[in-house]
Symmetry: C2
Subunit: 221 residues, 2 copies
């Protein structure tokens, strides 16, 4: 599903990010969900200086989302909303539906914080002495969480035994952050799981469009 300037769905992305952030900015999650759901969308790019944007997004981040009916931010909420329009992403059965939503929250609330902190120690705060000193403990915290996900996943293809859901989509985007800091070395099943996600055609299209948007002749106006 190509990006479509006439689509009613609009996703807000950044016009520029530092090189290491490419592939990790959270519009990727929304692009991926839209591709899985087969929904076209247009892109609104915002720059480093974005006056007034905090009216749309109080944390001054991307993505924002609108489809003309609902306007929201927070990648978790947006992906869930898209899932509600696509049984392929969010099953209708109450137990399976809530299990997918549970994993979406788990990715964002129980796994991402320690992984993200660990990556910031290496990428943003590296020149501080405390960053080096705290790294072993933060490593341990992030790896404990990843090990717990690894233990639960086991040899399964996806977190829910019955198929890919928004919970996998979100968890895999969190694992991609951890992978940048080499946090997955002890959990090869998570590497394989991440790669299964990344080999989905919807992911590949979303990632290509995500990168394309940072090119000088990108899709933005």
């Amino acid at each position: 599903m190509p990006v479509d300037a006439n689509a009613s769905i609009e996703v807000t992305t950044l016009s520029w990010v530092p090189e290491p952030a490419k592939g990790l900015v959270k519009d990727l999650r929304v692009r991926w969900a839209l591709e899985e759901a087969g929904l076209g969308y247009r892109v609104r790019q915002v720059g480093a200086d974005r006056p007034g944007y905090s009216n749309d997004q109080p944390f001054n981040q991307v993505p924002c989302f609108t489809d003309g009916k609902v306007q929201i931010f927070e990648s978790g909420a947006i992906v869930q909303y898209i899932g509600e329009q696509s049984e392929a992403l969010l099953p209708r059965d109450p137990q399976r539906r809530m299990r997918a939503i549970q994993w979406t929250y788990a990715a964002l609330s129980s796994v991402e914080p320690s992984v993200q902190h660990r990556v910031l120690l290496e990428r943003v705060w590296a020149e501080h002495e405390w960053a080096q000193q705290s790294k072993p403990m933060m490593d341990q915290m992030a790896k404990m969480r990843l090990q717990q996900v690894s233990d639960r996943l086991g040899d399964n293809e996806w977190l829910d035994g019955e198929g890919f859901t928004i919970g996998d989509l979100m968890m895999i985007t969190v694992l991609r952050i951890g992978d940048r800091a080499k946090l997955l070395d002890q959990t090869p099943n998570l590497v394989a799981y991440m790669e299964r996600g990344q080999s989905r055609p919807a992911f590949r299209q979303a990632l290509a469009d995500h990168f394309q948007a940072f090119e000088p002749k990108g899709e933005a106006a």
Copy 2:
């Protein structure tokens, strides 16, 4: 709505936590939502040593939830599920519904991580030199997020102009964590907002039952 040993809803809590954690353990969120929704529940307490529990909860944490139809963990997912049974907590109008869910994710994903990290620096890692050294920057990160929530809330009673939702419930439990580390000093409107939440009868009942469960003759079997 008293805790009821015969209720079909079961919430898993801890039988013991260190004194400073009382009032912050995340079963409180679920108890509060159930009180707001007028749903009775029974409590299953698990101890410090909980063999086999990771089958129910891969991160070895509380709360878990079941109502005989759906079994899930993650406080965000549980509170949302309870909200879906109570229009008082989660409006049915699509925009208002998604806005409430957006704030639930925002509380857990955009605000709690920096606040929680800052509290751990003070409470758990205080003896490490790096904890003291990193505190100013972590203070700044947590306070930036809190200021952004403060700016958005302004003089409104609740985050959604039209009434209390699960988004407020979740945000207020996150503010309670920040308040323990005196992170709310510069945002008096967040203090007032937190206190508005805490003065709700449902919150007071939930908090009382949360504390009661840690008493020697608590409600557990």
